[in-house]
Amino acid sequence: MEIAVIKYNAGNIQSVIYALERLGLQPLLTDQPEEIHRADKVIFPGQGEASSAMRYLRERKLDQVIKNLKQPVLGICVGLQLMCQFSEEGNAECLGIFDVTVKRFPARSKIPHMGWNDLKVTGGVLCQHLRQDAYLYYVHSYYAELSEYTTATNDYILPFSVALEKDNFYAIQPHLEKSGRDGEQILKNFLAL
């Protein structure tokens, strides 16, 4: 199975590569459209600032590449946020795969939402087979609103989307690659699609 990890100006790409290697895969880190198109599955990682990430993707026309992919695509953390319509972070027009707005958490508690938190699975296939008290590692100051694409939720300051699914597009807010065995289960679910 060929896994392409999209190379762009995001912070934790190497961690995603290592997580896939721990599962016995040899992912390809690439920003080449033909290599991304050819892969069986594509992972769109993320950590960083939304508007500068979108600028970087547009400059390389990767925005068009990503949203036109037909194979399963998994966005992680900022990857999820960039797959939405609009982000308040730098007022960024995003990829628009999910018609969802990404907003900043109101300052009623500590921001970023940082650490291990649970999730409530409401549907979809990405978060299947998790143990009852699964925990994932979150680090984010912005959140995707609840929507018709939401397949897992959590509540920090207010309810937000932990996972989104639509057609061949899957996205998850917490850092799966750093979420112990529970994160590995979700990664395996995606790889099994």
């Binding site: 190497q14 290592y18 291990w116 925990y135 065995r181 994160g183």
Partner: protein
């Protein structure tokens, strides 16, 4: 519900784990990568590697260790100890560290915090504050706690938050190595005054100390070293205890 984090700290020197008692006397406690994997499996929520190597080869040996940990460990980890420049930070993050911790370098040049936050994001910038109570005030110390500064701890903590730190690792030198409990009054005051998470460090000796620092101390995370390394308090036992006492923690199967 967001859980309270338990963070074993691994002091490393020349690629081996050591623990400083009151920052001075050192004992060898094993291979850092092996320890890291055990902690991750046992349910540690994060790890901190504090490098106390003093040689010019430091950055290279630390980067080699960071790479091995990143390859093998499936929980977040922070690297600190003598990290003084943007180049140091970039090396650690690109090698696979999730966060870097800066201390003396931030005191010497506070703008470094802004530069790092702007380039890599606040979420990966931890500012470590070593504090000691001197003549009626909490004073920031640098260089592994060796040198007192003129800087007052609360003022400095607020400043680092404003400059873009993502978290504060607060070590009470008055408590460190004593095993008599964390500095929960000081930790609570900082936690109330700030909006970024506080990792409490220094003084862990019993499981009750952890409960106290999460309740009275209002800490978001608690860090300890020797009690974990010498298996005085195994992580799973600590978490079971905290759960029994209604502290939200992540239990691994």
């Amino acid at each position: 519900m967001l859980t309270k984090r338990i963070i074993p700290c691994l002091d490393v020197k020349n690629g081996r784990t050591v623990k400083g008692v009151n920052f001075v006397e050192l004992r060898d406690a094993g291979d850092p990568v092996a320890l890291a994997k055990i902690y991750a499996e046992e349910g540690a929520d994060e790890l901190v590697f504090l490098d106390i190597t003093a040689t010019v080869e430091k950055r290279k040996t630390l980067a080699a260790l960071v790479k091995k940990v990143a390859e093998q460990v499936n929980i977040p980890f922070t690297v600190g100890g003598g990290i003084s420049s943007r180049e140091d930070v970039e090396t650690m993050l690109y090698t696979g560290a999730d966060k870097v911790s800066i201390n003396s370098a931030a005191v010497n040049r506070p703008e470094l915090i802004e530069e790092l936050a702007a380039n890599y994001g606040s979420q990966c910038i931890v500012v470590a504050i070593d504090t000691r109570f001197v003549n009626g005030r909490h004073v920031v110390h640098t260089h592994g706690g060796r040198y007192p500064t003129e800087v007052e701890t609360f003022a400095w903590a607020k400043e680092v938050q404003e400059r873009g730190a993502g978290e504060i690792l607060l070590t009470s030198m008055d408590h460190d190595g004593t095993k008599k409990g964390f500095a929960h009054t000081l930790t609570a005051q900082l936690s109330d005054a700030l909006t970024i998470p506080i990792i409490a460090s220094g003084g862990a000796g019993t499981m009750e100390h952890f409960m106290d620092v999460f309740t009275f101390g209002k800490a978001d995370a608690a860090l300890a070293a020797s009690i974990f390394h010498y298996k005085e308090i195994p992580v799973p036992q600590l978490k079971a205890y905290l759960q029994q006492h209604q502290i939200p923690v992540r239990i691994v199967a």
